[in-house]
Symmetry: C2
């Protein structure tokens, strides 16, 4: 196998908002053997009722695991590592493993080490999410227009990378690309983790009563992501600590520079910062066709 077919046996472990989105996207596009293992029976009931899985179990069912060609772990990072430590003996030689974890350096090498030589873990990051949790909020639509990033290490084979890329295509992502672990983690520290740190700080730095009566869309936009799953995001922050702290320091340095330009009434310097920002922001506009 170096590409998924509609008959590939795919097991999703963790049927939450992302795992559920995978089950929907794959089933809707004709994959016949999408199975799941997830801890709540009610999530399996939901998935069976909605016809998005072939079968499921609330336990790490040895037979289901052994009968899988591709296993997708859609768990919180530390739960994923614990699962592998506890149940790796159930994984059949030759099975390809992938994931949906939002950081890479903090987990990929450890998982690859734990799995040894005969089970290949090829890591991936579907850059799409929702602010709510749970399979009932999952959607296949969130992947359209989004990026699917495959993050190989030197231990990965081209065959497993190709399978992982074909999963991204099967899920309906607009772009499937590759990054190294370091590139991925620096990118995510800046574009995603830093922005969440800023939103959280904004909500906590001025708590004067009544401000909400005067808020406009700018403040709402900057703090939308301050509604945050504290367990998952604190894990992601800590597993990517070095890259995140470095982006936070770079931001603080630039921010304090701007603060000093304002304190010194250096209008020309302020205007020059604003013009760079305005011109660079154009690069980040949404493509018109999305």
């Amino acid at each position: 196998m170096n590409k998924l077919t509609k008959d590939t046996k795919i097991l999703i472990i963790g049927l939450g908002v992302i795992g559920g989105g995978y089950a929907k996207a794959l089933t809707y596009s004709g994959y016949r053997h999408v199975r799941c293992i997830t801890k709540n029976a009610s999530d399996i009931d939901y998935a069976l009722t909605h016809g998005i899985i072939e079968c499921g179990s609330t336990e790490p069912d040895a037979e289901l695991i052994a009968d899988s060609e591709l296993i997708v772990f859609a768990l919180y990072p530390t739960v994923f590592i614990d699962w592998i430590k506890k149940y790796r003996h159930l994984l059949k030689s030759g099975t390809v493993i992938t994931d949906v974890t939002g950081i890479k350096g903090g987990i990929v090498y450890e998982i690859q080490q734990l799995l040894g030589e005969d089970i290949e873990f090829i890591s991936a990051h579907p850059m799409a999410g929702r602010e709510k949790s749970g399979v009932e909020y999952s959607s296949a639509e969130v992947f359209r227009g989004a990026n699917y990033i495959v993050v190989p290490t030197e231990r990965n084979t081209e065959a497993a990378i190709a399978i992982c890329e074909s999963l991204g295509e099967a899920l309906g992502f607009a772009r499937v690309t590759r990054l190294t672990v370091d590139e991925h983690d620096r990118m995510i520290a800046f574009l995603s983790q830093l922005t969440h740190c800023i939103a959280v700080t904004l909500m906590n730095s001025n708590t004067e009563p009544g401000l909400e009566k005067y808020t406009g869309d700018s403040f709402r936009d900057l703090t939308r992501i301050a509604k945050i799953n504290d367990l998952m995001w604190s894990e992601l922050f800590l597993l990517n600590k070095d890259a995140l702290v470095s982006e936070m320091d770079a931001f603080t340095e630039k921010f304090v520079q701007l603060r000093n330009m304002i304190a010194n009434s250096d209008q020309e310097a302020i205007r020059s910062e604003m013009r760079s920002a305005t011109s660079r922001r154009e690069l980040f506009d949404k493509p018109k066709n999305n």
Copy 2:
């Protein structure tokens, strides 16, 4: 006069995106004598063609100014102050003056001082805007659902305050409220100016090529306002320097605290910050009926 009527003679000075919105909102709701003074003849042509003014001039026309009961200054802050210095002799005793300026302490006292006793300046801030400039992008719709803030000083009379409040209502704002100069400027420093400083800094703090290929909606939301009119906003920042620098310092302090929690792997402290942010953010949700 202590309330606008459909026959009140209203002169808008500066027909840009906000002044133009005022002309549209007032004319559409039946005000018969909306006039303007603005420097480009093409903007007057636009306004006449679209039927949103009764008449207009590109010069500080003495007759038009003397024939006004209410004058709305919709100019950049420093241009507003310069105009008053140069042309205040054209203002007729008893005329009520208002404005749309985004900061107050830096202009209100100076303008009131310049105008003396017989011409009353009652300041106001329509909290609605667009990212584009020019009368052709103006809209009466942006005021619906938004806040109109009247900012009186001890020199203002209840009669002028009432006229200014009735202007906010005539324009279609959802809420017309009063704040003191200090309350207004601290609120705006936090909710609006600080958020623009953050967006500008985010665009300039990591300029690695290619990042735009991976961006998602969070980063786009946090930097939408980084496309900024550098002349106007640098003026607004400098005229509200003390309040803004103080909000920037408070933000930096909280941000560095979070940075240190992450550097020290203090997961419980991080989660507690996230939970406060999540719960406080709910206050800022858009009311369902807007």
